[in-house]
Amino acid sequence: MSQPTIDPNSVEVMEGRQREQLEGWIPSLASEEDVRQALEKAFDYRGDVTLTLKDGRVVHGYVFDRRAGTSLQDSAVRVMPSEERTKLTIPYSDIAALAFTGRDNAAGKTFEAWVRKYWEKKAAGEKNIAIQPEKLD
């Protein structure tokens, strides 16, 4: 691992990550590199995805792990299906299509968004302001 260019002990505020808006995206899986990059993003995604396999099966669930090998045959994603508590291991080579169908559950829920809602309600004259969490389903 290379040495950091900035001394972490001198950093005041750590910039977080700029996340892409992937909800609804259907990536092209035309090349091996396309497949690897798309499934890496599926692993990184904060919601469920839908995998269509080459044998016709459709798997909807959360990609919680990926194991990179030297080829698509020995690389795999591990998925927890949304309707069952099990773990599926699916080789990259078995995947025909990928779609980011699930909601990104964390998108837009920054602390600033919470504070903005609080002040909007206060400006509107609301009392006993409570910000209710959104339903996940």
Binding site: P4, P8, S10, E15, Q18, K109, W119
Partner: protein, 227 residues
């Protein structure tokens, strides 16, 4: 707080964990500690927040420099009534008084997905067994000293408190330093001055809602207190 009071009244042993981000007012945090001790919390944990990549809010993570200043302000001039459920050398680490390297495997995380690689904070895949976690993770890739940018600002318990515990029990010197730390209230006039500095988060839509707390103006060093 109502929940905490109810749990204490119900006979439960209650401990707390407080995670702090950019914009935290040290006076407010000190007042919060007073409140927790008053309502009967057995002991407290505290740590700077970590840059979770999947967190909704990506703008309020403390860097190490600011973390150390914040925790120096909070944990110096410590009140005897505060009880911490922490290794006291770890508290010195977050105050900037000592340096530790990460022991990433010190507090592993196990969930419905398995054993999280490499640690509680980073999510770089999962192992099905603890042995697989230990054997299949390249530990040299993690820790601030590794150069991994994902570890750059980390000062959290899961990697660093284990190191502190190892230090405590690794030698008589470690035991002695820990015992001294447990009796030290860290009188520090400079830290009192930090309590008077205005809180200026880098990113903020509006001022944060803070618990009203008195700003302390003096240090009382009790007779016999080690400094």
């Amino acid at each position: 707080m109502e929940g905490i009071k109810a749990a204490v009244a119900g006979g439960f042993r209650v401990t707390t964990n407080t995670t702090l981000f950019d914009g935290a007012d040290p006076n407010s945090v000190r007042g919060h500690f007073d409140d927790l001790m008053t309502v009967g919390v057995e002991a407290m944990m505290v740590a700077p927040g970590y840059t979770y990549e999947k967190a909704p809010d990506q703008k309020h993570f403390l860097g190490r420099a600011r973390s150390r200043r914040l925790f120096r302000a909070i944990l110096s001039n410590r009140k005897k009534s505060w009880k911490f459920n922490a290794n006291y050398l770890y508290l010195e680490f977050i105050m900037g008084k000592r340096d530790f390297k990460c022991t990433a495997w010190a507090m592993p995380t196990f969930s419905i997905f398995g054993w999280q690689k490499p640690c509680y904070l980073l999510q770089d895949g999962y192992a099905d067994t603890f042995q697989e976690l230990i054997d299949s993770t390249d530990w040299s890739n993690y820790g601030t000293e590794s150069g991994n940018p994902k570890c750059a600002n980390c000062m959290v318990h899961s990697g660093y408190e284990g190191t502190a515990v190892n230090y405590t029990f690794g030698s008589l010197k470690g035991l002695w330093e820990t015992a001294k730390a447990m009796m030290n209230l860290y009188p520090d006039k400079g830290a009192l001055d930090l309590l008077h500095e205005p809180v200026k988060p880098v990113h903020s839509f509006n001022p944060l809602v803070q618990i009203n707390a008195q700003i302390e103006t003096h240090v009382t060093v009790e007779e016999g207190t080690r400094v």
